[in-house]
Amino acid sequence: MAEPALLEMHDMVKRFPGVVALDHAQLVLQKGSVHALMGENGAGKSTLMKCLFGIYVEDEGTITIDGAPARYSSPKQALDNGVAMVHQELNQVLRRSVMENIWLGRFPKKFGLVSTGKMLEETRKVFDELNIDVNPRVQIGKLSVSQRQMVEIAKAVSYNARILVLDEPTSSLTGEEVEHLFTIINKLRERGVGIIYISHKMEEILRISDEVTIMRDGQWVATRPASELTTDEIIRLMVGRDLSNRFPPKTNVPAETLMEVKHLTGRYPPACKDVSFELRCGEILGVAGLVGSRRTELLETLFGVAHRGEGEIDLSGKPVANRNSRESINNGFAMLTEERRATGIFPLQTITFNMTIANMKAYSHFGFLSGKEMERDTRRMVGSMRVKTPGTKTYIKSLSGGNQQKVILGRWLLTEPDVLLLDEPTRGIDVGAKYEIYQMIIDLADQGKGIVMVSSEMSELIGICDRILVMSNGRMAGVLTHEEIESEQVQETIMRLAAKYI
């Protein structure tokens, strides 16, 4: 009889009120291998992992590790038994130091007291081994999202786990950092660690993983060696239909100049420096750059959320002050924020609330809000954007990421903006929903709106943008024209520009 696999999960069933999240799902992980777990959002990947990690209790099914039954009642027990997990949401205590976050729950002690010295030393050891350049004493909330993600990965590694679950570890990493992560993963694989890798990024999956398990609607669909799969094949298995084209056809045509930005500089660091560009009606302007290149800061300065130091913004030839978001909204600007969960949605409010909150002025008659008009607009947007929801009274929290993003996009569309600033509009959204968001962006441009879109996914910038502005260390490194985007060397050009001022 063959040696049992490192981890086997069979016939896993988990029901939530009204939903079957796992429907006889299965997963077999071999020692010293990377196993990709794929599926659209809501396919049950995270639920399956949460059952393993002791956050959820499965209703049916068996979990064995090295052939022995493994049933953990809490994350602590899972961690003690060599199962570590990097969660998709960065669960960190932002006001505490990096090292405290890493050793939380198992502080190194001396004479019963927590030893800061030992903690620092241990942290340095882990960081050195993984080549991570972060000061362990600094408050974690002051790090960039990608640094925080690397810290989270280092934390999981530091448990010396036999099984390591990485849930969307690269969602906010740059290309370079992804390479770094892969080096770490390879090192762990050589040590015999079994790694479960959840991601939406096909290219990464095909490069790093040994096997791929695909799930759909809580069910197991297929497990294949990665070498036998192609991107299209994976997508077909995931969505259950062909999706040969990842981007909708571009139908928008840039027209006359809508906005002109001159020497825009933020006041408080980190800030963008001396950025000048113009945006046309019906144009989609991409903003590329490495993490830390202050693309978000550029959008925030445009929108007035961050203080403007110097520079001028002209809209249709007239300068606008945009001193705060209210003023910017009145001037016809709208902004979709990067961290949807933190700064976008009101989780325990209805779709209607979330959809109309930025546009209350329009529903106010003599100081009273018209519920009927709000409902009418919400229904219209839900319909036109194909938001999948049981109704407008549903809490937005219970929608999938893609549908949440549609609602927020809808919120801004209701204010009828001229300029839309989109910060990572497709982050953490599954392939099918991404396509719909792209289509929506292109439709908006078609209606003559100007769109500035920040993204870390180069393929989507290349796929739907008319021009791409590249930021490097807070400054503008260059703008790629439509012809340059069409050329073969586009990726190389962007990378070169992105490193220009570093």
């Binding site: 990690f53 956050i55 809490s74 994350p75 602590k76 961690l79 003690d80 997990m85 969660h87 949401e89 669960n91 960190q92 205590v93 932002l94 006001r95 505490r96 405290e100 976050n101 939380l104 729950g105 198992r106 502080f107 002690k109 019963g112 007291l113 927590v114 800061t116 934390k155 933020g266 006041r267 408080y268 925030e300 959320v305 961050a306 203080h307």
Partner: protein, 353 residues
């Protein structure tokens, strides 16, 4: 040209940062200077000692409440718990020569007995709070609102059970009074009459010991670190393997010990305990913490901050009475200073964009 404006901005930011970092100390300093200008006697060492002495019991309470605020909760029951514990303490330390004693047959107990009894009572109520927060998943505001009533009821029943009805419990054993109200005498002549023969009240030492002990708990024990983690991001703590319930209970039990000690001392300080003893101490303790930079959103706070906050509050109280400010005006001034202090302090954490 550009460089010079940039550097100017740089220095003005530095100044701003300096003011924000030391805002509490600056406010404290300004207040003292103002009071001294009006009445220079304020600088007498006896006044300073009195302020610290008055701050002591409240300070110990604030050290306990601070933990709950760091957990993103609060405690509205402090005052009534103090009432209950102080009543128990008082009934056990009454002088044997006093005729209307609550327990006429009780011999003079060693002082450790009332201290432990006081701690036990406070811990009991804190455990109710902790249980409600950790296991019943209630907000600390709600649980402590309930506990507050329970503690008050218990205090009333206990105090009314005296032969003479709801009388204040008073007339304590002299040893007890000395232990609380005594002090270390430093005799000597430094040439300035106001600074000769200083007495440092024991209460100040008790407060200092409590503060140092709590500094260790907060910074050097897993309980302290976990407390910050739970307050800052409960989910992160849970997935990192921290036992949230156990640690919450731990924080409440530590608070119970502090409350018990503070009630014991408070009974000795005011030397007469009735049903109203402790009323509104919760507000004093919470304002002390908040002034000292313990954030209501949880996960933020330092022991030195709490200590300074409590002292600042007491300086306000003391100096207003000291200067003989109209009592109605005192309330208004106190309110304004608290709002001012906290609003400057929170600026520290507001990231500028």
């Amino acid at each position: 040209m550009e460089a010079s404006t940039a550097s100017k901005r740089f220095t003005s930011d530095k100044v701003r940062e300096f003011f924000l970092t030391y805002a509490l100390y600056i406010i404290l300093g300004v207040m003292i200077v103002v009071v001294v200008c009006i009445n220079p006697k304020f600088l007498y060492i006896t006044n300073i000692m009195k302020i610290l002495q008055q701050a002591s019991t409240r300070g110990i309470l604030a050290l306990g409440v601070a933990g709950m605020i760091v957990l993103a909760g609060t405690d509205l029951s402090v005052g009534r718990i103090v009432g209950a514990s102080a009543a128990v303490t008082a009934s056990l330390v009454q002088s044997t020569s006093y005729a209307s004693r609550m327990w006429p047959d009780l011999p003079q107990l060693p002082l450790i007995v009332p201290l432990l009894a006081s701690i036990a009572v406070a811990m009991f109520f804190c455990c109710i709070n902790g249980f409600g927060v950790a296991f019943l998943k209630l907000h600390a505001f709600i649980v402590s609102l309930g506990t507050q009533l329970i503690a008050y009821g218990v205090t009333c029943i206990y105090i009314s059970s005296q032969a003479g009805g709801a009388q204040a419990i008073s007339t304590f054993d002299q040893n007890f009074i000395n232990l609380v109200n005594g002090g270390v005498q430093i005799t000597g002549d430094v040439g300035i009459p106001a600074f000769n023969n200083i007495t440092i009240p024991y209460l100040i030492f008790y407060f200092a010991i409590a503060a140092v002990a709590m500094w260790f708990v907060w910074n050097k024990t897993a309980l302290g670190k976990n407390m910050f983690a739970i307050g800052g991001n409960t989910e992160a703590a849970a997935v990192s393997g921290v036992s949230v319930k156990k640690n919450i209970m731990g924080v409440y039990i530590v608070a119970g010990v502090l409350y018990g000690v503070a009630s014991f001392l408070e009974a000795g300080r005011i030397q007469s305990v009735n049903t109203q003893t402790g009323l509104n101490y919760d507000l004093d303790a919470i304002s002390g913490c908040v002034i000292g930079g313990v954030s209501f959103s949880g996960g933020v706070g330092t022991i030195p901050g709490v200590v300074i906050g409590v002292i600042l509050l007491q300086v306000i109280n003391y100096s207003l009475s000291f200067l003989g400010v109209n009592p109605y005006l005192q309330y208004i001034i106190k309110g304004l200073i608290i709002i001012l202090a906290v609003s400057i302090d929170v600026r520290k954490y507001l990231a500028k964009k």
